[in-house]
Symmetry: C2
C-alpha cells in the first residue's frame, strides 16, 4: 500500500494542504483575575474582525489564523496575532493556558457584547442561553481548534487511482469521513501528547465538582490528571452524543435527530472532538449536503502554556503526520467504537499521567503499547514516503514513554513551585515582553520590508483582511467591507496618482512646481560640460552654494561653500565634481538642519531628524564599550531588519575619531556626545529622533502645501530649517519622496512612536464606521 | 563703444530674448475664392485659443506663437501651428501671402463671430465698426506681427554699466524707446528686404484705388511696387498719426490726445509700424504707465509666400541683428524724423524695386548707399561681438543690391508665369502637402517621443496651453480654464493611480487579478531550478504550453508545444530554457493572433494587430526593389522618429528568405505576400494594421473590463484571440501596459487613423464646454 502511495504522491502532495488555527485566551489583570474591561475598541466590531475577536466572554480573546498553505506560516501567523493582540490590552495579559485564571461567580462573568450586525445574528442572546444551560465558568475554559484540509492534488490523485467510479464530492466525503472516524478512535494519543490542563485554580473547582487535591496555595489537581478540559471538568454536552459518521447524509440526519429531540439546539452546540466543516459554515448542514466536506476541525487540543502561540510548531508537524496516518490506516469493524473511544478519551484525560489500560476493539491494551504501535506505523509511513519528520516522531515516542515529559506534568511542577497564578502569569509576562521587543516586526513576514510589516500588523489588528500578492515586491491586498485596496511597499496606494509620483521622481520638475507655488527651494542649475560651467563662475562667486555630481555616493565629489567663495575655488570644485558624473548640479546652500516631514492626506503625521552614529560618554566606558551597549537596543539590527542599524566601528569611524584626537579605547566624559562619522544615514548606525511636537505649525503647513503642490497624498518632505521654533526662520524644501519609509517614524531612536500605519489605513478609507 | 559692450555682454545675452510671432492667413477654396465656411469648431472658442484664432474675418486665421526663448523655437512653433491648422480646414487652403485671394464684395465678407465670452468683450461689434470705417477688403490684408524683448541679463548689465542712477523701469523704458525711434527711422530697410506685397488680385484693385497695370489675366501691379501693404493700398489709419516716443508718459498723453480728438477710437486702432507693449495689453495705457514697456511689436513685415511659416528663419535672424543695431545706433537730432521716415516707407513700399532716393535727416541719399552703410555697421557689430551671423548679412547685402532677389520681384515673376491665383494656390498646396506628410510630428518637438508630439499637437489645436517641464523626459503641462494637468509620455496622467501602474508592471499580479475577475489569462508558473521543473513533467505533458526564459531576446530558449507533447520533449525544453535565464516561465499556449486594445476611460479607442516585415509581390520587382518602394512611405523612418520603421534587409531577413527558397533578387508573383522575418515588432519593419472596426464588441468589452480590473484609465490590453468575429472564440489576455504608445493607432500602416490624443484630452477634462 505505502509503496503505491509513494509512486503516486509527492512529498509536497502529502505535507501540503490548508491549515488554520483558532486559539482562545482569557484577558487577565496583573493579579491574575479575569479582566472585566471591554474588548479593545481598536479590534473593531467583533463579527467583522476575521483575526481577533471574542468567544463566549467579553474577556475571552479569540485569535484566528486564515487557512494557510504551510504549517510554518500558520504557526507564525498565530504567534503574530498573539503579539498584535497582547500589545493592545494595556496592562492586562493573555492567560497562557486552557484552564481559567481567577474567575468570578457566574453572574459577574462578562458575556461578549455584540452590535446587532449583521442583522438577524444575535450572538449575544445565544451566549446568554449557553450560560444558563452550561454555567459560565466552563465557558471560560479555552482551547485550540485545529482546522485542516489535504492538498487538492493528493485528493485528486487518490481519487483517480483508487475510486475513479465515484464523483469528486463523494470521494472527498468518504476520505474525510474515514479520517474523522480514525481521529475519533485514536484521539486519545493526541490528548496524551498535547494535553496540558492538569491543574486548576481554586475559583474553578466548584465548576468541576470532583474530589481534588490542593497542590499549591491557590490550585488543585487530581492524581495523574492530564487534560481536565477533555474530561468531565471540561465543557461538553450534557449527555454523550454519538453522531453517525458513515456518510454525510447519515451524519446530517443524526444531527437533525439530536436537534429534534432537544438534546442540542443547533449543530453549533455539538461539542464533539471533531467537526465536519463545509464551504458555508453559517448554513453547515445544507452546505455539507450540497458541497460536501471541505475540511475538518479537531477540538481536542489544549493550549500549550509553554508556547506563546498556544501550540508548538513541532506539535503541528506531528498533527500532519497523524492526519496522514489516519488517512491510510485500515479501519476495524468493531461496532461500539465511538463509546470505546470516548471511554479511552476520559481515561487519558483523567489519569493519563499514570500507567493505564485502554480498550482497543473491546480488548484491553496498555496505553504505551498501543501508542508505540501507532508511532511505529507513523515512523514507517514517514520513512517510506520520505517525509523527513523522524525527529518529531522521536520526541513523541519519548513523551509517550515518560509522562514527566508531558506538558501536563511540567505545568503541575511549575505550579507546585510558584503557585498557580504566579506560574501562569510569569509565562504571560514573558510572552508579552517578547511581543513588545518585536513590536516592529510581524512574525512570519520578517522577509518583507519593515514598513510593510508594520502596515500589515495594523491591518490585522483592525480586522482588515490581508493577502500577499507578491511577497518579494511587498505587494499586498487589504480587504474589508467587500472593498479591496492594493498597497505596495506600505505607502504606494491608489490614493496617489501616477503623475504625482513622476513629478516627485523628477527633482528638477519638483523644484519648478514648488517654486511656482511660492515654496522656497534651493535655487540652482545643471551643467553637462565643464566648459559651460566655467562660463558661469562670475555669476556664482561669493554665493552660498553646493556643487555636486547628479548621482553621488557617500558624498564623493561634493563641495560646499556656505559663505560663497572665489572663482578659482569654484573652478576646482567643478573639475572635481565632473570626475564623478557627467551631470553636475549647483544648488544654493541652505543653512539649518534637515527634517523629514511625513505628510499623509492633509496632515503631518511625523517629523524626524537624523543624526550621525554617536555614543554619549559616562566617564567609565570606552567608546568601543559604549557602542556595544548601544547596539543591545532591540531596535538595532543588521541589514534593514530593524528600525535602526547596529553601529559598526569601521575604518571610517576610526579616522573620524582620530581627527578628534580619539580612538576606540578613549573614555568620553559623562554626558559628552561623540560622533562616530559624518553622514547621518540610519544605514550606518545613525539615530532617528522624533521632532513631531517640536516644530512650529508654519513648517508643517508648508510641508502639506508642498505635498499638495504635486497632488500627493503620501509624501516625505525633506526640509532644511534654520530655527524650527521660529515661523519666520529661513527654510527650503530639498526633495519630495513618494515612497517614504514609515518605520523610522513608528519606531524612532528617541521620541514618541507614531502610529503611521493607522493613518495610512484611515487614508484608504478602512477606518470609517460602516453600516451593516 | 562696441568694445565695452563686448566686455560686458555674452553672445547669449545678445542673441537671447523672447520672441513671439502672430501670422494671419486667409482660408480659401481650391478655386482661390475666400472660404465662407465658419472657423473650424475643433479650434474651440476663438478668445480661448491662445494659438489658433481669427483676426478680422471669420475666414482669416491667426496663428500665434507664445513668447519663446530662441528664434529657432519660434520659427518651428509657427510652422507647427501652420501644419496643425491646415490639416483641420478640410479641402480649403491657407492663402500664402499678405494680399488677399479672390474676395467678395464687403457685405459678403464674413466678420469673425464670437460668443460673448468673456462677458463685456464684444469682439464682433468692434469689427463691424472697423468694416464701416475702413471697408472690408483692406481688413483682409494679412501680415506678420513680430514681438520681441531683449534678454533680461542684457538689460540688467547695460543698466548697471550705463545708467545706474535710473530705476529699472525707467532704464528699460528708455532702452525700448530708443529702439522704437530707430526702428521707425530705419524700417524702410525691413520693408525692402522682407516686403512681398507686389501684386494683387483683380477683386482687390477697387480697394486700392490706384492706377495699376495688369500683369496676368487675374492680377495687377504697378512698376517697382514692393509692399502694397505698407503703402497706400494697405490697411492704415485714415490720416497719418505720429505719436510721441520721447517718454512713456508723453507717448500715452499723445495717444490720449488722438483718442480725444476722435482720430482713433482706442489704442487698438493705432495702425502704426511699431507698438509699445506692456504686461497687461488689455489695459495697455494703464499698464505702460504702471509697469513700463515690456516688449515691442513690429508690424511692417509682409507674409513671405515662399515660406510655409510666412517668415523665414533667416529673416528672423536678421531681425535680431537689426534689433541690436537699433539698440546701439546713436540717434540724430533731426526734428521731422517721423514724417521723413513715413515718406521713406511709402517710397520703398511703392517703388522699392526701383533705384530711388530716400531722405536721411533732410538730405537725399541713394537707397542702396544708405542700406549698405547700415549693413556694414551691422557686420561690424556682428564681427566685434562674435555673433556669427555674417552669412545672414551677406544675403541681405545681395538682396539690397539686386531687387530681383526680393520676394516682391519673385512673386511678381511667378504670377506672370502662372497667374495670380494659380501661383499662390500652388504654394498653398505644396505647404498643405508638406503638413500632411509630416502629420505625425510636431515641428520643433521632433526630439520628443511621437506619442507626445501627437498629444501636444492636439492640445495646441484645441487651444490648450502647452508647457514643457522636462523635454528629455517627455514631461509636459497642459493648461486651460485655469487648470493644469501634467502628462508624461502622453499616457501617464493624473487619471491613473499609482497602484494601477504597479499592478500592470507586475505580470504575475496582473494575471492573478484578471483571473479573479473571471477574465481568461494563460495559466502557468515560474521555476527557478531545473530539478523543480522536472518534478512537474507529468502535470504538464500533453498540454498546449510555451516554455520560456523569463527575460528573453529574439525568442532564444523558447519552446512552443501548441498540441502538447511528451515528457522527454518537455525535459529538453526546460534544459534549453535554463541555459538562457534563471527563471523559467511555463505558460498555456493560446491559439490565435495577438491584438493590442487601447482602452481610454470606458472605451476601446483603437485595436491594432502587428505583422512581421513583408512585401507584396507584383510579378515585376525583386524583393529588394519592393522593400525599397515600401520604405518610401513617409510613415517609415529610422530610430522611432516615425510611426513605422524602414525595413532593413539584414542577415536575419536573408536567412528567413533562404528558408523559403528565396533571396533578395527573387521576384514574387503578383499579390503574394512575402514575410521577411518572424517577429512582428514595428522596430524591425513590421506593419501595424488597424482592426478597431473588425473585432466584435465582446472582446472590446473584455478589454475594458481587464483595464477596470486594475483600476486603469489608460491601458494597452494585449489579447490573443482565435476568431475576432466570434464572441465565443477562445481568447486570453496576455499583458496589460500602463504606457501604451498612441502613435501606432494614430498612424497605422493600414486602416483608419485614430485620433487617440483627442480621447486623452477628453479624459483629462479639457474638452468639456466651460462657462465664461
Amino acid at each position: 500500500m505505502l509503496e503505491k502511495i509513494k509512486s503516486l504522491l509527492t512529498r509536497e502532495d502529502l505535507l501540503g494542504g490548508h491549515f488554520g488555527i483558532e486559539r482562545e485566551g482569557l484577558r487577565c489583570e496583573i493579579s491574575g483575575k479575569l479582566a472585566l474591561t471591554p474588548h479593545p475598541e481598536v479590534f473593531g466590531e467583533k463579527l467583522r474582525n476575521p483575526y481577533i475577536t471574542t468567544d463566549f466572554s467579553e474577556s475571552q480573546l479569540e485569535l484566528i489564523t486564515p487557512a494557510m498553505d504551510t504549517l510554518e506560516e500558520t504557526y507564525d501567523f498565530l504567534s503574530g496575532l498573539y503579539d498584535i493582540a497582547v500589545m493592545e490590552i494595556g496592562d492586562e495579559y493573555i492567560w497562557p493556558q486552557s484552564m481559567p485564571c481567577i474567575i468570578p461567580e457566574d453572574k459577574k462573568i462578562p458575556i461578549a457584547r455584540f452590535c446587532k450586525c449583521p442583522p438577524g445574528v444575535d450572538a449575544e442572546s445565544y451566549r446568554q442561553k449557553l450560560m444558563l444551560k452550561y454555567g459560565g465558568k466552563k465557558q471560560l475554559v479555552s482551547g485550540i481548534h485545529y482546522n485542516f484540509s489535504f492538498k487538492e492534488s493528493l485528493i485528486q490523485k487518490l481519487h483517480t487511482a483508487y475510486a475513479p467510479q465515484l464523483d469528486t464530492k463523494s470521494f472527498k466525503n468518504s476520505l474525510y469521513l474515514k479520517v474523522t472516524r480514525n481521529y475519533l478512535r485514536y484521539r486519545w494519543l493526541i490528548i496524551y501528547l498535547l494535553g496540558s490542563t492538569s491543574t486548576m485554580h481554586e475559583t474553578y473547582v466548584e465548576a468541576c465538582g470532583k474530589q481534588l487535591k490542593k497542590i499549591s496555595s491557590d490550585s488543585f489537581s487530581s492524581d495523574g490528571a492530564l487534560s481536565y478540559r477533555n474530561g468531565d471538568c471540561g465543557y461538553q454536552n450534557k449527555t454523550a452524543i454519538f453522531p453517525n459518521y458513515d456518510s454525510v447524509g447519515e451524519h446530517i440526519a443524526s444531527l437533525e435527530h439530536f436537534i429534534k429531540e432537544g438534546t442540542i439546539e443547533s449543530h453549533k452546540e455539538l461539542y464533539s472532538q471533531i467537526r465536519l466543516k463545509a464551504k458555508d459554515n453559517g448554513n453547515l448542514l445544507e452546505s455539507l449536503q450540497k458541497d460536501g466536506i471541505c475540511y475538518l476541525e479537531y477540538r481536542s487540543i489544549d493550549i500549550n502554556p509553554f508556547d506563546r502561540a498556544g501550540i508548538s510548531l513541532n506539535d503541528l508537524y506531528f498533527m500532519q503526520l497523524f492526519n496522514l496516518y489516519l488517512l491510510f490506516k485500515e479501519e476495524s469493524d468493531y461496532t461500539l467504537w465511538q463509546e470505546e473511544a470516548l471511554e479511552n478519551q476520559k481515561a487519558i484525560a483523567t489519569h493519563g499521567q499514570k500507567e493505564l489500560q485502554l480498550k482497543k476493539d473491546g480488548n484491553l491494551v496498555l496505553k504505551e503499547d498501543w501508542g508505540m504501535e501507532m508511532l511505529q506505523e507513523m515512523r514507517k509511513l514517514n520513512d517510506t514516503l520520505g517525509l523527513d519528520k523522524q525527529d518529531v516522531i522521536e520526541i513523541m515516542e519519548k513523551r509517550l514513554k515518560d509522562y514527566q515529559l508531558t506538558y501536563a506534568y511540567q505545568l503541575v511542577e511549575a505550579v507546585k513551585r510558584e503557585g498557580y497564578v504566579a506560574a501562569c502569569l510569569n509565562l504571560a509576562k514573558q510572552y508579552k515582553d517578547e511581543a513588545y521587543k518585536a513590536r516592529f516586526v510581524f512574525k512570519g513576514y520578517e522577509d518583507m520590508e519593515l514598513s510593510t510589516q508594520i502596515l500589515l500588523k495594523e491591518a490585522v489588528k483592525r480586522g482588515i483582511t490581508i493577502e500577499l500578492l507578491d511577497r518579494a515586491d511587498n505587494f499586498v491586498a487589504l480587504k474589508k467591507y467587500g472593498e479591496t485596496e492594493y498597497v505596495k511597499q506600505a505607502t504606494k496606494t491608489t490614493k496617489d496618482n501616477y503623475i504625482s509620483v513622476l513629478l516627485m521622481e523628477n527633482k528638477v520638475v519638483t523644484k519648478k512646481i514648488l517654486k511656482d507655488k511660492g515654496i522656497n527651494v534651493p535655487m540652482g542649475g545643471e551643467w553637462y560640460q565643464l566648459e559651460d560651467a566655467l562660463c558661469h563662475l562670475s555669476d556664482l562667486k561669493n554665493k552660498p552654494i553646493v556643487i555636486k555630481p547628479k548621482s553621488t555616493n557617500f558624498g564623493k565629489g561634493i563641495s560646499i561653500f556656505p559663505e560663497g567663495t572665489k572663482e578659482e575655488d569654484l573652478e576646482s570644485a567643478f573639475k572635481e565634481a565632473f570626475k564623478h558624473d557627467n551631470t553636475i548640479l549647483v544648488e544654493e546652500f541652505i543653512k539649518g538642519k534637515e527634517y523629514r516631514f511625513l505628510v499623509i492626506g492633509e496632515e503631518v503625521v511625523g517629523i524626524l531628524h537624523r543624526v550621525p552614529a554617536n555614543v554619549v560618554g559616562d566617564g567609565v566606558h570606552t567608546i568601543k564599550e559604549l557602542v556595544s551597549l548601544k547596539n543591545q537596543d532591540p531596535l538595532r539590527g543588521k541589514g534593514y531588519r530593524r528600525p535602526l542599524e547596529k553601529i559598526h566601528l569601521d575604518e571610517t569611524a576610526r579616522l573620524f575619531l582620530k581627527a578628534q584626537g580619539l580612538d576606540f579605547e578613549s573614555i568620553p566624559e559623562e554626558g559628552i556626545c561623540i560622533y562616530l562619522r559624518e553622514n547621518s544615514n540610519i544605514s550606518t548606525g545613525g539615530d532617528s529622533i522624533d521632532y513631531t511636537d517640536f516644530i512650529c505649525d508654519h513648517f508643517k503647513q508648508l510641508a502639506v502645501e508642498a505635498s499638495h503642490a504635486v497632488g500627493a497624498k503620501i509624501c516625505g518632505v525633506d526640509m532644511m530649517i534654520e530655527n524650527v521654533a521660529d515661523s519666520k526662520s529661513s527654510y527650503a524644501v530639498i526633495e519630495l519622496n513618494f515612497n517614504p519609509a514609515i518605520h523610522i517614524h513608528s519606531y524612532p531612536y528617541r521620541g514618541k512612536e507614531r502610529n503611521i500605519a493607522h493613518k495610512i489605513l484611515k487614508l484608504l478609507g478602512f477606518l470609517e464606521k460602516r453600516p451593516c
